[in-house]
Amino acid sequence: MPDATVVQLSGVDKIFGRGDVPVTTALDSINLAIGRGEFVSLIGPSGCGKSTLLRIIGDLTDPTGGSAVINGKPAAQARRDRDYGIVFQAPVLMDWRTVEDNVKLPLEVMGWDAARRSARAAEMLELMELGEFLNHHPYQLSGGMQQRVAIARALAFEPALLLMDEPFGALDEMTRERMNSEVLRIWEQTGITVVFVTHSIPEAVFLSSRVVVMSARPGRITKIIDIDLPRPRSELTRESPRYFELVTEVREELRRGGALVDDAGTGSAARTMAEGAVG
């Protein structure tokens, strides 16, 4: 068990406060274990703390209580050991760097020599089908292509864990579906463990081995749904009856948790109420 567990969250709380006064309980005693090679999605209305949970795994914010253990180490140590790569909703590319140099950024920080950096960047961009755009600058690429560069950058140093925080939330539906297939292809090729935060029910079901459904205020795990769709998944998966059953199951679970779900899978009412309190 300890060897196969990549992420172990035990009793994680997060309370946002003003000074000593607690204002919002973003996360309330979260327990979750994610095994090697899993693809786990965190889904829930805005304000359920799913992004905060991801940031606790990445040691980008501290939990108020409980512990996050990554690869058997405290999250802070895992971050210092560069155990994970992260992709945000925005691509966060450096305007002044070419596509190739953006992918090289983590490798430079980590002290790789120039020859290895170039070889790896070329390899990653080939993997993301961006080989022709090596010398382009981010402003010359579409939103979807920019996000592919961000994924190439996150995978460049071969982390064991990939954290994705609504990576396709800003993309149109067509591009999003294409990116979903692309992420699955990468996941299958590399065997990497993925924790994926999303608003979208179809996206979560299509991608995941397990979907963690969360409710808001306080942020809790209401149910963990196993996605037993066969792999490899393809466009046909999206048309299978089992896929629709699972989408319905996740949707009903979200509704039970208090999220008012519209067709896009967004809890819009919960969103307006919780906006600003929790990221």
Binding site: R82, P106, E108, V109, H136, Y139, Q140, S142
Partner: protein, 278 residues
């Protein structure tokens, strides 16, 4: 953001040169038209030359006094340019240095920024006589310091902003790589500050000339544009005054264009980025 990649724009070639010329053509035409109109109207209304000389008279004065012993225009322009450039270097250097210190330590920022804002509100020109007293009325250094003080504030304020107003997500990304402060400075903060720096520098070139010339008004060596302007005006040789102003303006524009060219060389991605946002 468009769906397809925008092709990289070619920098040279006949087509590009022609496009650029066509871009500047209207401005050149308006300038030429204004000169002709000025010449004709002043001539037609028989306005006295000492009130408003015709462009032809100004160009004649420029030619006559290019190297005359009384009003040596070229040597004066050289001396003033030297003062302005010295002030630009001193002021920019100090501004950048202080910006690095204030952006690195929040305490110094809280300490220095209010003082800087207050000091910037003081009409610095009023210090010119004091600067002449402190740094030597005949020494170019007193004019350089005047220019440097004017240059200092916009450079410091802009570079501080560039170093601190970084995308928070970029900082988180660097944190996820366990990058140290020095690495973040080199890989994120400094590149982020470069466009701010060049914006300030373009402003600073103009300010440095203003500082130098105003410093000269309050006394000093005589072969400088400020003194030529003051002395030719008091001798009612306004055609020479205008010629000196023309030289000062040309120097200022050349200074600005040089900085803009430097910007294109150092941060080409920024100019292109701006172009796509138009």
């Amino acid at each position: 953001m468009s769906a397809a990649p925008i092709p990289v724009r070619s920098a040279g070639g006949f087509g590009a040169t022609f496009t650029r010329l066509a871009y500047y053509l209207p401005a050149v035409a308006v300038a030429a038209g204004t000169l002709v109109l000025w010449e004709v109207v002043v001539g037609a209304l028989s306005i006295k030359a000492f009130i408003f000389p015709q462009p032809s008279a100004i160009f004649a004065a420029l030619q006559e006094h290019w190297a005359s012993p009384q009003f040596p225009l070229f040597a004066s322009a050289q001396a003033t340019l030297f003062e302005a450039a010295g002030g630009l270097v001193l002021g920019t250097g100090a501004g950048v240095a202080v910006a690095f210190v204030t952006s690195r330590w929040a305490t110094t920022r809280g300490l220095l920024l209010p003082i800087a804002v207050a000091a910037n509100a003081v009409p610095i020109i009023a210090f010119a006589p004091l600067f002449n007293n402190w740094f030597g009325v005949l020494a170019p250094l007193s004019k350089m310091m005047m220019a440097a003080v004017l240059v200092f504030f916009p450079v410091m304020a802009n570079v501080t902003r560039g170093l601190t107003q970084v995308d928070p997500a970029a900082l988180e990304l660097m944190r996820s790589y366990a990058a140290g402060e020095g690495t973040i400075l080199r890989k994120v903060r400094i590149p982020n500050a470069l466009p701010y720096f060049f914006t300030a520098l373009k402003l600073a070139t103009t300010l440095s000339l203003i500082g130098a010339i105003v410093g000269e008004y309050f006394g000093g060596a005589s072969v400088v544009l400020g003194r030529v302007i003051v002395q030719s005006a008091s001798a009612l040789r306004f055609d020479v005054t205008w010629a000196a102003i023309l030289l000062a303006a040309t120097t200022g524009i050349a200074f600005y264009l040089l900085t803009a060219a430097l910007e294109r060389v150092v941060i080409p991605w920024h100019a292109s980025l701006r172009a796509t946002e138009d």
